[in-house]
Amino acid sequence: MSVRRVIGTEVEYGVSVPGQPGANPMVTSSQVVNAYGARPELTRGGRARWDYEEESPLRDARGFSYSGALYDPAEALADEDLGLANVILTNGARLYVDHAHPEYSTPEVTNPRDLVLWDKAGERVMAEASRRAATIPGSHPIHLYKNNTDNKGASYGAHENYLMRRSTPFADIVVHLTPFFVTRQIVCGAGRVGIGQDGSTPGFQISQRADFFEVEVGLETTLKRPIINTRDEPHSDADKYRRLHVIIGDANVSEISTYLKVGTTSLVLAMIEEKALPGDLGIADPVTELKAVSHDPSLKHLIRMRDGRRLSALDIQWAFYERARAFAEARRGDDSAEEITFDVLNRWESVLDRLGRDPGLCADELDWVAKLRLLEGYRERESLGWASHKLQLVDLQYSDVRPEKGLYHRLVARGAMKTLFADDEVRRAMVEPPDDTRAYFRGRCLAQYASEVVAASWDSVIFDVGRESLVRVPMMEPERGTRKHVGALFDRCASAKDLLEAITSG
């Protein structure tokens, strides 16, 4: 047991057309997605649709289906009917319009390192998409931001997905993940100028999202947001798996923030599945403490625990770290992702150690610290208060996806921010799928047989190979359809027809 797990992220990007306040964000988002979807390798013979057959976003992990009226179950289909753009990429990712934002969902990967790579590829896809959209005559430049709030009361998500064993009781997940999620923001917060949902109270806080969370557990994602989200829609064999849908995270641009966010969470989930956590870290009032931790970049705030203790967010992160370290040490040699497991542990330890001495020591690794360093620099040099528009602009533009304008990207270019991947690796991940999940099958189908693929989803690809009816290939096992399983088959089959014949005869 280790960091190895089927995971993925889905990030909604902020979208804006400067100088055009009346621009319809659904239209703008569609322009972005369609501009990218017009790439020639995706359009040979028409574009594949998204297949909604197996989608059930209202199934609840606690074992019931939601029947309230706040959310329209036909919404996904309605989006499709409106013609909202939806593109399946050759890297196995999905690029589409979700409500009023362009969204990129990574292909399924099996470890945090690959997650960072394909998540970064998504940022690059967005940058390229907005660049292409701007070349359409008569269009205005569209800006995209990998952040989570407009600082006027609206928030949009950066969700993480972790495949888990169905047999793990959901109550265990709630008990252990709640204190972990309340405190992990000190590692993976993205930083925010402004306090409160509308940001109207001047100040800096660690997390973009903390102020938007109102309950401990629930199914909603757009109002009364819960620390633990119960959506239970596995996109795979529901008897074996659940997909833990995590909505509390910030959208990170720092590769190390993203890496630690999914890496440490994967470790905690492994311990939950193995019943290796004692459950002694219950927080008395998680929703209040979530905000209190976010509002204290000095990291001195003491959280009131259920057992009466007062612990800092760092103390709680250290406790999870120490247990994860012991857990992984005891399983050395039995971990197919051992190198990454221990790399996550070493980096986690190093970051906690530096945060404890002086958070500024993490300015070249963690988003919130890097952002705070810029902000403090301006505050000092230009005597700016936290209500300054310039500081709000620095906050916003930190997450601009354009390499020449995004402040994060400028920091990387100066060598002031560490990365995990070289530029050419990220570029390759924009078009190539991961090798070791069903995303490989999906991606290669799109790359090789685009004209014969009618539709696809996380767990299926639908072909039209000239037979009387369409052929649907289900992919209910996320770790099947890998390069190892089907790579040679793709190399040898010139058409989808050949592929399907080979599959059914084999």
Binding site: P21, N151, K152, T221, E349, R357, L396, E404, K405
Partner: protein, 72 residues
Amino acid sequence: MATREPGGRSQSSRSRRDEEIDEAPAPEASAEVTERNEQLTEDVDDLLDEIDSVLEENAEEFVRGYVQKGGE
């Protein structure tokens, strides 16, 4: 980088945790922190000059114009 003891406990984590439990006053800035701060002061002006050159014009208007619909 902290050194680890057998069993996975970190030297620095132990000492730091003990400090917090005792609620000891913050330790004086270490040599590492001092050196870093000196280097940062030199770099920061240069850094902010570069950031200034790419920041959008008219911060107030730009920030006001950034209005999103909720998502998820």
